[in-house]
Structures are given as structure tokens and as C-alpha cells.
């Protein structure tokens, strides 16, 4: 069951799939976390797809945890609650980097046993309510939560939530065909499952919309009001000015969900390694 080693820390999941090295993205995330919060604890949950972890990469994580095997890694997400080595966890998707010290978040997040991030931001630091591409959420009256960033702590309430999420993953076909309107996703996504779970569990118990800083900059082009056919990194400049990432000439002070998996080039990773002294 639970195997807590630390009070608090940052957790991500990295199951490599279809040529995408999620573990490398998780590594960059851990570098970014240690760059701005040197004392923070980081953990990653991996599966057998992650092999030959070098000492350099291994030492940036405080914990590397073997997760259950799955041909649909998203369904492993609820299990993170039981796998985390932290009593309090901020869970991030692996393609998010952190650009400033966010330790103060812990004090605010402790208002709840579980906090899902709500809405997202554009690079101009404006909150974006994505009503066009999240029409499904509106149709089903679901909260606009983003699974990319969440907080949970060892508690009865969080246990209930993740048991519920696990159950929804297991019964997705029924959910898709008999409960949700216009649900066209063949396989369950965490964004859908967690928003349904939040609805059933009680939105008021798992979101704090007034904590409007607890969200990330989403680099999907429609969030930025940019042409949607092209990856954002082909549209605008980005540069690393550590600890910041500058996108379209604006420093990003919020977590950046860069989304395009080939954005972290070796050059970018080397810059982080160089400043953290790991290369």
C-alpha cells in the first residue's frame, strides 16, 4: 500500500510510447524543478519501457518507482496516489517545466486534501477558459479541470477520489455510451475521467478556483489564439534564459506545458544540465 518516505514532493509519470521518450521529458522537468528549488524532492513512476538509466539522469530524481505495466498509461494515473513516496504530492505531466520557486504553493494547496488545477493560461499570463475546444466539458456540465497539474495528500478524501477515478477508468465504456454526451474518445483520457470524478466527488471538494495561480501555461495553439495546424514552436521564438523560458519574447513565470514533445532539444537539456552542474 502506501510507502511514504518524505513529507512533500513533485511526482510525474513517464511511460515511453511510440517513439516519445517521456522519461527524457521527466528528466528535464526534474532539472527545472531543482534549478529553482534546489532542496525539493522529485519522483518519477516508470515502466519497463524506460531502460538503461544513466547515473547522471538517475541522480536528479530522488525516487524512481516502478509502476504497473499497462498498454494505456493514462489508466495508471490514479495509481500514482498509492505509488507516491510523498505524503503530499504535486503531480505534473512530464511535459511541464517549472520556471520559478513555487514552494509557497504548498501552503495554499493544504486548504484541501485534493486540488485539481482549474482553467489554464496563455503566454501573456491571462487565464483562458477554453470553451471552443472543451465543448465536451460544457455539453456535459463538467468542471474545466486540467489533469496536468494537481495536488493530493494522504487522506481519506483523496483515497476516495482516486478509488472513484480508478472505477471510472474500469467502466469507461459504460460511461462513454450511457452517461456522457458526445464522448468520442475511444479510450479514456485522464482529463475526461478526472473531470467526471470531480463532478461526482464534489467540485467544491477538489478545486479551489480562487487559487488562480495553480495552473499552467498551455502551449496548444488555440489557447494562444494562434493558427492551430502548426506546432507553437514553429510559429514563435522560444529561448532559455534560466530559470525562465521566454516564449514569443515574454518570460514565462508560470509552469509551462510545452506539449510539443520534441521541443526539449539536446541544447535545451544541456543548458539545464550545465546550470545544475550535472553535465
Amino acid at each position: 500500500m502506501f510507502n511514504h518516505k518524505e513529507q512533500q514532493g513533485f511526482l510525474t509519470i513517464a511511460y515511453n510510447t511510440n517513439g516519445i521518450d517521456y522519461f527524457e521529458l521527466a528528466y528535464l522537468q526534474a532539472l527545472s524543478l531543482k534549478r529553482v528549488m534546489p532542496g525539493c524532492k522529485t519522483a518519477v513512476v516508470i515502466d519497463k519501457s524506460v531502460k538503461n538509466i544513466s547515473d547522471k539522469v538517475g541522480q536528479i530524481f530522488d525516487y524512481i518507482i516502478q509502476g504497473p505495466e499497462s498498454n494505456w498509461p493514462m489508466e495508471v494515473e490514479p495509481e500514482l496516489f498509492w505509488l507516491t513516496p510523498f505524503k503530499e504530492t504535486i503531480k505534473l505531466e512530464s511535459d511541464i517545466i517549472i520556471t520559478r520557486d513555487i514552494n509557497h504553493w504548498w501552503y495554499a494547496l493544504r486548504l484541501r486534501n485534493l486540488v485539481l488545477s482549474y482553467n489554464c493560461r496563455n503566454i501573456e499570463d491571462k487565464i483562458v477558459v477554453d470553451s471552443e475546444h472543451r465543448k465536451f466539458w460544457l455539453d456535459n456540465d463538467l468542471p474545466n479541470v486540467y489533469n496536468g497539474l494537481m495536488y493530493f495528500r494522504y487522506s481519506q478524501q483523496a483515497t476516495e477520489f482516486f478509488l472513484l477515478a480508478r472505477q471510472l477508468f474500469q467502466n469507461y465504456d459504460f460511461l462513454k455510451n450511457h452517461v456522457l454526451k458526445n464522448c468520442r474518445e475511444e479510450k479514456p483520457s485522464t482529463d475526461v475521467i478526472y473531470s467526471v470524478a470531480a463532478k461526482i466527488f464534489g467540485i467544491e471538494k477538489c478545486t479551489v478556483p480562487t487559487l488562480d495561480f495553480f495552473n499552467f501555461v498551455h502551449m496548444k495553439p488555440h489557447i494562444q489564439n494562434w493558427p492551430t495546424q502548426t506546432n507553437w514552436n514553429e510559429l514563435v521564438m522560444s529561448e532559455i534564459d534560466l530559470p525562465y523560458v521566454r516564449i514569443n519574447n515574454l518570460n514565462q513565470y508560470n509552469p509551462v506545458h510545452y506539449h510539443v514533445k520534441n521541443w526539449p532539444t539536446d541544447t535545451i537539456i544541456n543548458r539545464y544540465e550545465y546550470t545544475s552542474g550535472t553535465n
Binding site: D241, N248, N249, L250
Partner: protein, 271 residues
């Protein structure tokens, strides 16, 4: 903040005017100066070239060597016309005042609102945004670009931060081709509005958050104007197709031919 040696801050207005083949900007500056001086009661200085023959009794006339070529699209004729808009950044060095109000010659002062600003604590302030009657005022430098500001109205004191700001504007002007690409600017024509916006973004830590913006919007009239009348503290702006009635307040008028017309001269006498 720097003040002059006797600790009394000198304040004044500075205008730039370089005549082109199509527009007598110096004449427009003379007219703008009458209005600005009347409502703000501040000395007005002109930065111009050696050929200009201004009529207004300026506090100082600063003559510089104009260099550079640029064009703009005339808002009425839609033709490309010469645009002598370089050197704006040099106002920091040329202004004779500790605290300067820099305005474009097509910015018509009809009230004292800028006097409230000039007493505030700032290094520099720029007009952040503008309305027009059609609500179609472009607000970004390009489809992928960032919001721009209006260099039409700028206030600054001679502080280190202001010096950095104007030096940066100068660097942006000199390397305009580079910044056009970097900032995804749709047009290659140099615009002070864009250069000032970029400098402000950089100086604010590559952020759009800025304390250097004037806390109200400017009204820009981009239509072809036939006449502006003053009646009961209202301005009646008659264009070729419409008439707009607005409270008497400062206007940014893009129609240069109107500003050179007898109708405008009549308005100045009526005010």
C-alpha cells in the same frame, strides 16, 4: 528622480516635425503647439531640421540632421507617402526639460488631463491603448505579435531608467529588420509605436505587465475629416459620411490634410 540643480523641476512639451513632399508637418506642429500651450500652459520646444521655418513662438527650436527613409500608408488616400518618423528616441538627449511631455503633432490637446499626469512619480509613461469610433483599432503588432503602445503621447523624466528606455528604442530602430522577425511584426515599416512597445516589454523583464502606461485610452480619429466644431463643451467631428459628438477632450487625428486646412485653423481660433 533627477531634478535640476535648484531642485525645481523644469517641465515642457516637445514636438518633432520634419516636412515631407506631401505634408507640412512644421505647420501642423505650429498649430498643435497653440492648443497644447493654451490648455497646459507649458513651454513648447520643437525638434526639426535646418530647413524648417516654424511660426509659433517656441521656447526652443532644436535643429538636427534628419537621416533615414520610411513610408506609411495614408489613412485617407491609401497611398504610400514619405514618413519621417526616425530619431524619436533622441528626445532624451535633446529635450531641454527635466520632465518632458512628448506628443505627436497630430495629437490635439483640448483639456488639462495631461497636467495631472505630469505631476506623478514616474520615469516614463506611454499611451497604452487607443479607441476609435469603429472599434476596429488594431492592438497587436501582427497576428502572432504582442500588443503595442502609442508613442503619440509619452512623458519622461531624465532618469537612468528613461535613458535605458530611449537608448533601447534607438537600438531597436537601428536593427529594425531583426526585431520585425523576432516580434512577428506584420509590416516592415518602422513604427515608433512598435519600437516603444518592444522596449517597454524588454525593460519590464520581458513582460506585458507594465507600470509605465498612461491609465486611460486615447481617442484616435482615423476617418477623413471635413470639419471639427466646438459647441457647448462638445466636439462635433464631421467626416465625409458621419458626424460624431464627443465631450471636449484630447484627440489623435490621423487625417493630415485636415490638420493643414483652414477649417482646423478656425477651430483653433474658436477654442
Amino acid at each position: 528622480m533627477n531634478t535640476s540643480k535648484n531642485n525645481v523641476e523644469s517641465k515642457g512639451i516637445v514636438l518633432f516635425a520634419f516636412n515631407t513632399d506631401t505634408v507640412n508637418y512644421v505647420e501642423i506642429a505650429d498649430r498643435c503647439a497653440v492648443l497644447a500651450n493654451k490648455f497646459l500652459n507649458l513651454p513648447v520646444s520643437l525638434i526639426t531640421d535646418s530647413h524648417a521655418q516654424p511660426k509659433f513662438q517656441y521656447d526652443k527650436i532644436i535643429r538636427i540632421q534628419y537621416s533615414g527613409r520610411n513610408q506609411r500608408t495614408d489613412v485617407v488616400t491609401k497611398k504610400q507617402v514619405e514618413w519621417r518618423n526616425f530619431h524619436r528616441h533622441s528626445v532624451f538627449d535633446h529635450s531641454p526639460y527635466d520632465n518632458t511631455l512628448l506628443i505627436d503633432t497630430d495629437y490635439l490637446v483640448f483639456d488639462k488631463s495631461l497636467l495631472k499626469l505630469i505631476e506623478q512619480n514616474y520615469d516614463y509613461l506611454i499611451m497604452g491603448s487607443s479607441n476609435n469610433f469603429q472599434d476596429t483599432m488594431q492592438a497587436r503588432m501582427g497576428n502572432l505579435g504582442l500588443p503595442y503602445v502609442w508613442a503619440t503621447v509619452v512623458l519622461f523624466r531624465k532618469t537612468n531608467k528613461s535613458k535605458l528606455f530611449f537608448n533601447l528604442v534607438g537600438r531597436i530602430q537601428r536593427n529594425w529588420g531583426y526585431y520585425v522577425n523576432l516580434y512577428n511584426i506584420d509590416s516592415t515599416q518602422y513604427r515608433n509605436d512598435y519600437a516603444f512597445a518592444i522596449a517597454n516589454i524588454i525593460l519590464n523583464g520581458y513582460s506585458l505587465e507594465s507600470k509605465n502606461l498612461i491609465p486611460w485610452k486615447m481617442l484616435t480619429v482615423s476617418d477623413e475629416i471635413e470639419k471639427i466644431e466646438l459647441k457647448d463643451n462638445m466636439l462635433i467631428i464631421r467626416t465625409t459620411t458621419k458626424a460624431y459628438v464627443v465631450p471636449k477632450h484630447n484627440l489623435h487625428v490621423m487625417h493630415k490634410q485636415y490638420l493643414s486646412s483652414d477649417n482646423f485653423l478656425q477651430l483653433i481660433q474658436d477654442v
